[in-house]
Amino acid sequence: MALNIAVCIKPVPDPKNYDKVTIDPVSKTVVRAGIPTIINPVDKNAIEAALRLKEQFGGKVVIISMAPPDAADKLREALAMGADEAYLLSDRAFAGADTWATSYTLAVGLQKTGLDFDIVFCGAESADGATAQVSSQLGEWLRVPHLWNVFAFEALEEKKYHVKTKIENGYMEWEAAAPLVVAVSREINKPRYTSIMGVMKAKNKKLESWGVAELNPKRDKIGLLGSPTQPGDIFTPDLKRKSEKISGDPEEIVKTILEKLRAGGLALEGSNYTCEGGL
């Protein structure tokens, strides 16, 4: 037996260039043009989890991503880490997709590979949009269980796993069986470095690009037109600071500061931040 493992990855703007990221005031989308991208950091943890599972039980790791054509180098990078084949879902018709349309497209892409996937790994959320919705939606499209925010994953058997998911005040433990979708968090592992030998092997691995013609998705479920989410507003916050010099004796200055804080909306009443009486 051998496992069929898929990993969904997303290119995101390189954090080194966050200061260059802007938001288009009209389309309300992140302007990524000209900004170098990297594999979404937590997606690398997903790749690592997939590779470890393959190393344990054998099988195949397939990378899939819905992204513009220039994302091919990110898929090649995943292949260099040790994945076996990669599929880039790229078409102008996919542009502007919300999480629902994205997860639908990914599900169609996974189906198109013709492989019966035992497990699909995703990063819990992307570093840019951070909606954290795609993995769960993907599980729903695929009609398989899905676990989110997985920080520990241990295979009890080839298709039976002990899983821990983070919740607000602790964690939950699960026993899960394939097929399923697992969205991992950064704590789950430390992604391996890409080796030079991996880079050399990657160029001979299968990397295909599929568009609408190849995938034949339902047109009302892809791209901007197939996206039910309508963002209310999205804008670049004004981070300008203003300064004001307050003069007077210390007591007057403190009084003025407190008045200004109250006027600015800070609720100080009910709090007792006095040091009277000492420790």
Partner: protein, 382 residues
Amino acid sequence: MQMYKFTEDQEMLRKAVREFVEAEIAPHAQEWDEEDRCPVELFPKMGELGITGIFVPEQYGGAGLGYTERAIVLEEISRYSGGLGIAMMTHHMGAYVINTFGTAEQKQKYLPELAAGTKIGGLSVTEPAGGSDFMGQKSTGELKDGKWVLNGRKCFITNSHVASTDVWTVRTGTDDKGRPVLSTFIIEKGTPGHGPGRKENKLGLRGSVTGDIICSDVTLEPSQMLGKEGAGSKIAMGAIGELGRSGMAAICVGILRGCVEESVKFANERIVYGKPISKLQAIQLMIADNRVDYEAANLLLYSAMRLKDAAQPCTTEVSIAKYFASEAAARAAKRTMDLMGGYGVINEYPVGRFLRDALTSIPSGATSVIQQLIIAGDTLRG
């Protein structure tokens, strides 16, 4: 940034190495410099990545790549640690001579561990009388009762105290015309009579160990000879000439990139009179000069490596690259210190280390004057 264009594969390789260097080398470079310690524990990790065995053939566990890729690796390491750069450069030379001149048995015996980084390579050529008086070396090898007995002292040897596989050149006789016959031997760490001596306290490239190695009646089987008797000159000069000097050029290109990046970072962050100093034209001129020095050194290095990969003669081109890159790195580091004002001499910033590393690179692999003589000789021959 970078006018020279790599292939897609080379770009991917560079990205992979850079990711490792930024995570595992950059945070510790200052500490290795201050402690003057070679991080030998990192070699097996670099082995897993293919860095230590960059041009060791795949059959021996290496990446089987070329000189351009090796230069990329050294540039990336030396962007943050010139000291580790020269340690790796020397390790590559140790592996190179065994791979190029070794027998099948020697390759099988030594290359897998050198490629894996579980053993560190060294090359011992220079003697107290001077590195450039290559044929005048005094160390000897005598054949006694079917075994070679080596005696002598090597100095200024990188990896002297950390190498587990040392390659020595010694004088094994004199030819018909009275010229010395040099031969080369592989000596394993722990061989009786072989061991490190004085450790040098260097100005720069700290984080690599440099010192003496002594052979005192070291007895070796004939199977430890590398290449044929009398091949020592060819082996040592082959390694030092194009491989060593191109390695030093790559290290200096790394230092130059460090100067560009650190000067840009500082100029954008340092606020004087209410605005970043990058807005000042005097500062911009320095940034431009740093960039030009980097680009020129980079073009010279990688153009020479393209020739080397194509098995074309490139001794002069490598000398040009090494001469220019090392001098340019020193002036760029000094320029970056000027740009930073008082901050330039604070060791919290790496630029002082860049200057010390660049100055130390100038005599490594032969001084600028020797490079000039090689370049002039080739130019005058026409």
